[in-house]
């Protein structure tokens, strides 16, 4: 594993140590949160489509760890990891999934449509590619206002083939918008492998013809993601130009919780097992221990705390009320 090679014992400052533990805390929280969602879906507490982030945690956590208050994040429908990494209240996130009025969107959005403005999350979008346009507009507003903020836009490899991507990369390059496009290349768009949906499978290369930099990174190693994110976000903020990142990652679970054909129909159990060896969580765990940054007990404590937070979130969601029926007619128009 890549991180195994990093063995020089760095004398870490308190802050640095805390940052590392926070990365771990967030990834573990997301993992437990998603595992609970999977169970809740089978108990019909969660409906609709449910897309889990299991295996891809390092991406949201690594990138979002480098943001500042004026920055914004938008993503596609596989969006639980983004809001949790941004610090949304897990109880309100779970309540949204349960369709409760206490949810992030009062139970009207559901898994594919999170919003949490207070935490700079401007939406998960259920239409493949849709987020790319909106996020480019958010970055446009940052430029328009000459704010120091930048925008992170997360989407999947399947969205590489949406015409909207091409239109927006061109305008972002033309107008030098402060945005980082992050394609989570988890090798599949639903049941279709990248080789069958993309004429050129190097997605960073596909995005290299719009007049701004693009690169490929290892999305399974949160430390590498964080390092790359630090440089890239700094570049975008200071140079005021877009950046395209292809993050190589993998989802350990089916496309959606409803998909019972996976593994088998389009990928093998063996392939999944191979990738599980690169699971970002044990990966970081090993690094922290090997470098004496923390103890087994501390990690154990973090894990248990995450479980408690998720249980508490589930209880909160269970006990929350459904939106009153007259909510049906509210929020069609703003005053």
């Amino acid at each position: 594993m890549s991180t195994r090679t990093r063995t020089k014992k760095a004398a870490l400052s308190k802050e640095e140590r805390e940052e590392l533990l926070e990365l771990y805390r967030q990834m573990v929280l997301i993992r437990h949160f998603e595992q609970h969602c999977d169970r809740a879906y089978r108990q019909d507490k969660i409906g609709g489509y449910l897309h889990l982030y299991i295996g891809e945690e390092a991406l949201a956590v690594g990138f979002i760890s480098q943001l500042q208050p004026n920055d914004r994040v938008l993503g596609h429908y596989r969006d639980h990891g983004y809001v949790l990494a941004l610090g949304s209240d897990p109880r309100r996130v779970m309540a949204e999934l349960y369709g409760k009025v206490t949810g992030l969107c009062r139970g009207k959005g559901g898994s594919m449509h999170f919003y949490d403005k207070a935490h700079n999350f401007l939406g998960g979008y259920a239409i493949v590619g849709g987020v790319i346009g909106i996020a480019t507009g958010v970055a446009f507003s940052q430029k328009y206002r000459q704010s120091d903020g930048i925008t992170l836009c997360f989407f999947g490899d399947g969205a590489m083939n949406a015409g909207l991507l091409h239109e927006c990369l061109n305008m972002a390059g033309l107008w030098k918008l402060p945005i980082v496009y992050i394609v989570e290349n988890n090798k599949y768009a639903m049941g279709t492998p990248v080789e069958l949906h993309s004429a050129v499978t190097n997605l960073a290369e596909r995005a290299s013809v719009y007049g701004f930099p693009s690169c490929q990174i290892d999305g399974m190693d949160v430390l590498k993601v964080r390092e790359a994110a630090r440089e890239i976000i700094h570049h975008v903020r200071t140079r005021q130009e877009p950046y395209f990142v292809e993050a190589i990652t993998y989802r350990f679970v089916g496309h959606g919780a409803a998909d019972i054909t996976d593994p088998g129909s389009y990928r093998t159990r063996e392939e999944i097992e191979e990738w599980r060896k690169r699971d970002p969580i044990p990966n970081l765990q090993h690094y922290l221990l090997q470098n004496g940054i923390c103890t087994e007990q501390e990690l154990e404590a973090i894990d248990q705390q995450a479980q408690r937070i998720v249980e508490e979130a589930a209880r909160y969601a269970d006990e929350s009320a459904d939106p009153p029926l007259d909510e049906l007619w509210q929020h069609v128009f703003a005053d």
Binding site: K108, A126, V128, M190, T261, S265, E327, L328, W329, V332
Partner: protein, 324 residues
């Protein structure tokens, strides 16, 4: 007669037409190797191979445009949209290209194209995935619009759609895929523009299609116990549309209800009401009522969702109202 699931009947139509005509092919997202999200195309990739069943990238405008071009060259593409909500991306291809090419070419270039897939609410898919789609395409000269309510109709109408020389929008309801019904044995087709009286009654005409037919039947059975006889007119195709059968039904019952899941405002129910009052004004004892979806984006919460589109009680209430 054998019974079939709605989605099996669609698959049978695809198989029969692909067998009889080499130019028929399927194209869409995850319809081949993955067998289709709603399993409609299960087994067809294995049966017909990659030149007859095309898995596409997520590029609705692109692959629908490709289907149009292929159709202009005499192929008969059957496009699957995972849901019609994604067809908004290809609106320019559908409305401003497929529907216009025959006319602007002065009749020289027909476009024998079928686009099919699910549209409608009921699975908590929320605002961006739950659209009904019939109105968008019915309001576009050059497109034919089909919304079957039973497995038998689905099969016979789809076979007609594939043989038709025009762009046909074939809209399936996700709540119908697992409904079962009798399907005639052997070869048959059902012509466009012929409504089907799914139930004969004297007191009120419910003009509807797709899921609305099942809803109307459930309502009719409950109302029958009170001696109210509902007539159910299943339009089956909205373009062409069998208005004569509608008018005749209303001239008999003197009362009409238009029923659909789609939004009420500017929905197809408005056209039904407008036509009936134009053509059967003197036979009407009451205004034509509309039972339709609430004019709101579809909410995720399941109770709000149920409240957002017609349920049996809504139909029953409307019948009582139109009778008083």
């Amino acid at each position: 007669m054998a019974t079939r699931l709605f989605r099996e009947a669609i698959r049978e139509a695809l198989i029969e037409e692909m067998d009889r005509d080499e130019t028929v092919f399927l194209i869409g997202e995850d319809i081949g190797r993955y067998q289709g999200t709603f399993r409609v195309t299960e087994g067809l990739f294995q049966k017909y191979g990659p030149n007859r069943v095309w898995d596409t990238p997520i590029s609705e405008p692109g692959f629908i445009a490709i289907a149009i071009g292929a159709a202009m060259e005499g192929l008969r593409p059957v496009v699957e949209v995972m849901t019609w909500s994604f067809a908004f991306l290809a609106m320019d291809q559908i409305v401003n290209h497929a529907a216009k090419i025959l006319y602007k070419s002065g009749g020289a270039c027909p476009v024998p194209l079928v686009i099919r897939g699910p549209a409608g609410p009921g699975k908590q898919l929320a605002a961006q995935h739950s659209h009904s789609f019939e109105l968008w395409v019915a309001h576009s000269p050059g497109l034919k619009v089909v919304l079957p309510s039973t497995p038998a109709d689905a099969k016979g109408l789809l076979k007609t759609a594939i043989r038709d020389n025009n762009p046909v929008m074939f809209i399936e309801h996700p709540q119908l895929y697992l409904t079962r019904g009798e399907v005639p044995d052997g070869e048959y087709t059902i012509p466009f523009g012929v409504a089907d009286i799914k139930r004969v009654g004297r007191d009120v005409s419910i003009i509807t299609y797709s899921r609305g037919v099942l809803l109307a039947q459930q309502a009719a059975e409950r109302l029958q116990q009170e001696g109210i006889e509902v007539e159910i007119v299943d339009l089956r195709t909205l373009m062409p549309c069998d208005w004569e059968t509608v008018f005749n039904s209303v001239r008999k019952t003197h009362r009409a209800i238009a029923l659909h899941d789609d939004w009420r405002y500017c929905g197809f129910g408005a056209e039904i009401a407008a036509q009936i009052q134009e053509q059967a004004f003197d036979w009407l004892d009451a205004p034509v009522l509309r039972v339709a979806g609430a004019d709101v984006p579809m909410p995720y919460n399941k109770y709000l969702e149920r409240a957002a589109y017609p349920q049996v009680d809504d139909v029953i209430a409307a019948v009582r109202q139109v009778l008083t």
